[in-house]
Amino acid sequence: MKEESAATVNYLNCDYSIRSWLLTVDHKRIGIMYLLAVTVFFLIGGIMATLFRFELSTAAGDLVTAETYNKLFTLHGVVMVFFFLIPSVPAVLGNFVLPLAIGAKDVAFPKLNLLSWYVFMIGGGITLFVALTGGLDTGWTFYTPYSSTYATTDVLSAAIGVFITGFSSILTGLNFLVTIHKMRAPGMTWMRMPLFVWALYATSLIMVLATPVLAITVALLAVERATGIGIFDPALGGDPVLFQHMFWFYSHPAVYIMILPSMGVISELVATFCRRRIFGYSFVAASSIAIAVIGFFVWGHHLFLSTQSVYAGMVFSFLSFLVAVPSAVKTFNWTATMYKSSVSWQSPMLYVMGFMGLFLVGGLTGVVLATLGLDVHMHDTYFVVAHFHYIMVGGVLMGYLGGLHYWWPKITGRMYSEAWAKVSALLVFVGFNLTFMPQFILGYLGMPRRYYAYPPEWQTLNVLSSAGASVLGVGYLIPVIYLLWSLRHGKPAPANPWGGKGLEWTIASPPTPHNFEKPVIVTEGAYAYGEGGHGHG
């Protein structure tokens, strides 16, 4: 058996040359190339975070200067948002899994897929160039007129980097939309699709509809910065708040670009490890689309304390509450799926539990912040920082790590150490809460974000947060070690180690270059676990 699987040609051993990787159009290899890229960016962003958590463990600003501190949190934000969170689940796991999950040989446009990776690397390279040649201090939001007129750092290059990276996101989204519409295997109807595919569809809609607005926004910023012509410049009658509107028209939905695919991963994991069809499948599928659509109507809640009119603020505040509805639909349905099922507590499922707890806290504090009156108090405090980290790190990263552990045997053909995986899941959860729970309190007490020094009475909570960050850092490093270790020493993975029902589990681990040896014909819906146990069917 072992000899047989070693002799089989798969997408990894079919060609070992560097060229075969750099010019590959295989979605599986491109997924791995994205995995390498986003891991590097995650480490860079993580190092920035480590440095400023060190600074914040004392009340005085003593480790770095104020200017350096500004650059640290700016690059942390830019790198983490644009180069890790947005591509993490869709471009890594989505690229690898999507064609397999719908029974396709590849995405609809394999060459565009490769192009999007190169575009991503060029944008990332420019941003790293900025980081190495003086940094950037505008905050990841690039607000005008500071960014356009006053900042002395290299805003122009950074804007160009983000502009270029946007196209990688657009190309991925476009590719996935067409893939899901046109590449499904016979019998794979919309209501038979795995919920991860639904989530990727919703994500791709946002990528296609919102990212171009970011592109033109940072392009206008770059033009204004480079030539000095007035676009957002109040001195010429321009409106800096227009920049904020345009920026958040993308950047709020971008939060859903990050979280929706993670939610899709969670749906897959809950079904597999509870051996059940997801309770309320159609509602969970529709809630992804609902989040994507409603997400376009709420961006003004980032502008409550700008000159945005109070009336617009009220409308945005009300609409922001609505996002809670489809989010709750998902959470309740996952819980209902788990109810009275025999859950197998393997490491991916631990990440699911982490996701649910952290997303719940992040989501509910989001409702708090969407309240117009309350936000006047909370705006730009650590409460906001804690809130969005609970969503974007607690939610997205838990889903990403859960999905990575779940599909790792399929991607590499190797099993990792289950014990270490459980330890790291636990460490991440504990470390995360220790890092960010104190920040809710700090924010409530009024500690503003983006300051490198603070009054001494806040030191205890800040030290707690920094200590948690070290635990979190260890929790993130351990998987890097044991996942790499598994490549050489891990047990060979069977085709279906978890008892999953997706099409990707019907083929060899790792898959052959063209995925499916026989034509795929789908005859039943996702998660067909039958009526065993207390199944809902």
């Binding site: 396709a104 040989k105 590849d106 995405v107 609809a108 446009f109 394999p110 657009i170 989204g173 476009l174 590719n175 939309l177 067409v178 519409h181 046109k182 590449m183 296609v208 509809l209 919102a210 990212t211 171009p212 607005v213 592109a215 033109i216 926004t217 206008l220 033009v223 030539t227 000095g228 012509i229 007035g230 676009i231 001195a235 010429l236 009658g237 321009g238 409106d239 227009l242 509107h245 345009m246 063209h514």
Partner: protein, 214 residues
């Protein structure tokens, strides 16, 4: 050699599926284009509502005749592009080449006129920035008008340049017999792009050149 090249990519089951995917992909791309130009139109609307008189004055410095001429040029080019697709559908290679060539020439004509207009603005110190001169009052808001004028028409012109490149590519492929009534997808996709660029101009012309003319 060229004749034997199979236009069906390995991951599609049929030419029909490949065509449908390409068409949907192209329309998705056009959505992104709509949103990208949309960001520019948004700022234009906001500032025009805020400074209506200034925008009218700024518009008076644009040449209606050249603008209208360019609009007509683009509409004719859209027609020749549509005729090129039509000829490709019927497998008439020579006619396809001719229509693509006419489309290209019309596109270049448009760009030539644009160069004349831009250099005229340069000579009259109407390029926003340090050299900007305005005798009719505060020089701030008029710069906003010209900033948007140059950004909108500039982005449009970049699209025209890209379109011209695509047309050259299509002509090369057509000459090498890559297309047939069974497979002419690239011509149709470039056609969609070209018509979209035409549509952008259909809005730009009245919104930039024809403000407050009565």
């Amino acid at each position: 050699m060229a004749e034997s090249r199979n236009p069906l990519a390995h991951h599609f089951d049929s030419l029909e599926q490949q065509y449908a995917a390409a068409k949907l992909g192209m329309w998705s791309f056009l959505i992104t284009e709509v949103m990208m130009f949309g960001g520019l139109f948004l700022g234009y609307i906001l500032y025009r509502c805020r400074f209506p008189e200034v925008f009218a004055q700024g518009s008076h410095h644009l040449d209606i005749k050249l603008g209208a001429f360019n609009t007509a040029v683009l509409i004719v080019s859209s027609l020749t592009m549509a005729l090129a697709v039509h000829a490709a559908q019927e497998g008439r290679k020579q006619a396809t080449l001719t229509y693509l060539f006419f489309t290209l020439m019309l596109g270049l004509t448009f760009l030539g006129v644009k160069v004349i207009e831009y250099s005229d603005k340069y000579q009259h110190h109407l390029i926003p920035g340090a050299r900007f001169l305005w005798s009719e009052g505060d020089a701030g808001p008029p710069q906003l008008f010209y900033s948007y004028y140059f950004c909108m028409t500039g982005l449009h012109a970049i699209h025209m340049v890209v379109g011209a490149g695509l047309l050259l590519w299509l002509m090369a492929l057509t000459a090498r017999n890559r297309f047939s009534p069974a497979y002419y997808t690239p011509i149709e996709m470039v056609g969609l792009y070209w018509h979209f660029v035409d549509i952008v101009w259909i809005f730009l012309f009245p919104l930039l050149y024809l403000i407050g003319r009565h």
